[in-house]
């Protein structure tokens, strides 16, 4: 996947042929990814697929061993102020200074950002029910995540980067995070990049999705056309068969006897062509459905 689908003027993040090795492990393998301005970009993949490593390159925490990373057209390693000042970031670890009180954390973070919106920060603090006198150390997991979210949002960043923001959190805090994502992009031109293994959340909010598997980008498309591309069809044959025949765009087959279920990638074609193909195999289509992102992920990762 080396072609660039978006020109750099319209994209906020442009990753070109980035590779990264840790010891003998190839963590990123010639990754190209372009995050367009405006909307939500979901980065999906299993544990250890390379999502966090890729995000660390976007933040300038890791230097690419080969290839290039541009954020707002700048190199995050050599121009960290220009890049990080326009970006909000929340990580899974939520590395916050434990010894500070909530009020101090807010004031401390505010000093870094000329665009800090004090009223918005206060609004978020009240909404998240954060006690200004509480020490970060003593906060629950959920309140920690909310503190991290507050300081990532209050300077109204052009780009919000969230690395596994929901991991290990209860549904109420997960709701806060999703609604922060939605409010962020509802303001024109703002962009959210978030990684998650909770694919139902990605399916709810993402405009575009890239999937990383073993350090490679194996899928990158708009969610809409991804959903249009995959179909699950169940065929019924007249007689039991041992080996299911090929079908248009087949990725995976399951079944026994007369009934076989296919997962097909029909990208670019009309779904009705599957029906035609099935009939020419002498089978009847007994069920046809679109697939959830979760199922698409499994079908792609297990290939």
């Amino acid at each position: 996947m080396t072609e660039r689908t978006n020109n750099s003027a319209s994209s906020v993040i442009e990753i070109t042929q980035v590779s990264r090795r840790f010891g003998s492990k190839l963590a990123l393998d010639n990754v190209c990814m372009s995050v367009p301005r405006g909307g939500v970009f979901g980065l999906i993949g299993g544990n250890g697929a390379g999502k966090t490593t890729l995000i660390k390159h976007v933040l300038g925490m890791l230097q690419p061993q080969s290839g290039s990373v541009r954020v707002f057209g700048m190199d995050p390693i050599t121009q960290p102020v220009g890049v990080l000042g326009r970006m909000g970031y929340l990580s899974e670890e939520r590395d916050l200074p434990n010894w500070m009180r909530v009020r101090e954390l807010i004031r401390y973070t505010q000093a870094f950002y000329p665009t800090w919106d004090e009223r918005f920060a206060e609004e978020l603090r009240e909404m998240f029910e954060l006690d200004p006198n509480a020490r970060i150390r003593g906060l629950s997991r959920g309140q920690r995540a909310r503190s991290g979210l507050l300081v990532a949002l209050a300077h109204r960043p052009e780009l919000l980067v969230l690395d596994e923001p929901s991991s290990g959190l209860d549904p109420v805090v997960r709701r806060d995070i999703l609604s922060a994502i939605i409010r962020t992009i509802a303001h024109e031109g703002r962009t959210v990049l978030f990684s998650s293994h909770l694919l139902d959340e990605v399916e709810r909010v993402a405009d575009n999705v890239a999937m990383i598997h073993n350090g490679r980008v194996v899928l990158s498309d708009s969610l809409e056309s991804l959903k249009d591309s995959y179909r699950r069809v169940t065929l019924r044959f007249d007689t039991p068969i041992a080996e299911p025949p090929e079908l248009l765009g087949r990725m995976h087959t399951e079944g026994t006897g007369m009934e076989w279920t296919y997962v097909c990638n029909i990208s670019g074609r009309d779904a009705s062509q599957i029906r035609g193909a099935a009939i020419s195999l002498g089978a009847e289509v007994v069920d046809e459905s679109s697939m959830s992102l979760d199922e698409i992920f499994v079908a792609t990762a297990c290939r």
């Binding site: 509802a186 399916e203 199922e295």
Partner: protein
């Protein structure tokens, strides 16, 4: 307006919104002239991408069920309920087709199926009556 989104069954979210609003219109819970929630409000309520809601509203608009007014709001059109009723018939017809095909595969005769529908309706009415009695 109550809409429920599920990400388990693979149905695209915009389509779930379209189908449920169609249902609300055909069931008379949304009447001609009623305003739909603004896109951003509904997106935040349902926790889905605003573009998804915008797409659902566009589909409903091109189907003639809702119309945009100059004040930027989206309203159920005068034609809405008539069109939605036609839609309702279409939805029910496809469910019935499934039911007929399934009972055929299970070797259940048409008369048995009708009998079963009566039995189920009776059971449903009874449990509803019980709910009211409990209130």
């Amino acid at each position: 307006m109550r809409i429920h989104i599920s990400t388990n069954d693979g149905v695209p979210i915009y389509l779930q919104v379209v189908q449920q609003i169609k249902y609300l219109i055909s069931a008379g819970r949304l009447s001609p002239g009623d305003e739909l929630p603004p896109i951003r409000v509904l997106a935040e309520n349902l926790l889905v991408n605003p573009n998804t809601i915008a797409r659902a509203y566009r589909e409903l608009e091109s189907a003639g069920l809702v119309e945009k007014r100059r004040t930027a709001g989206t309203y159920v059109s005068a034609e809405g309920s008539r069109l939605a009723k036609r839609e309702r018939t279409r939805i029910l017809a496809s469910r019935i087709d499934h039911l007929l095909a399934e009972s055929d595969q299970m070797d259940v005769s048409f008369d048995e199926l009708i009998k079963l529908i009566h039995v189920r309706r009776e059971a449903m009415n009874n449990s509803r009556a019980k709910e009211f009695a409990d209130d």
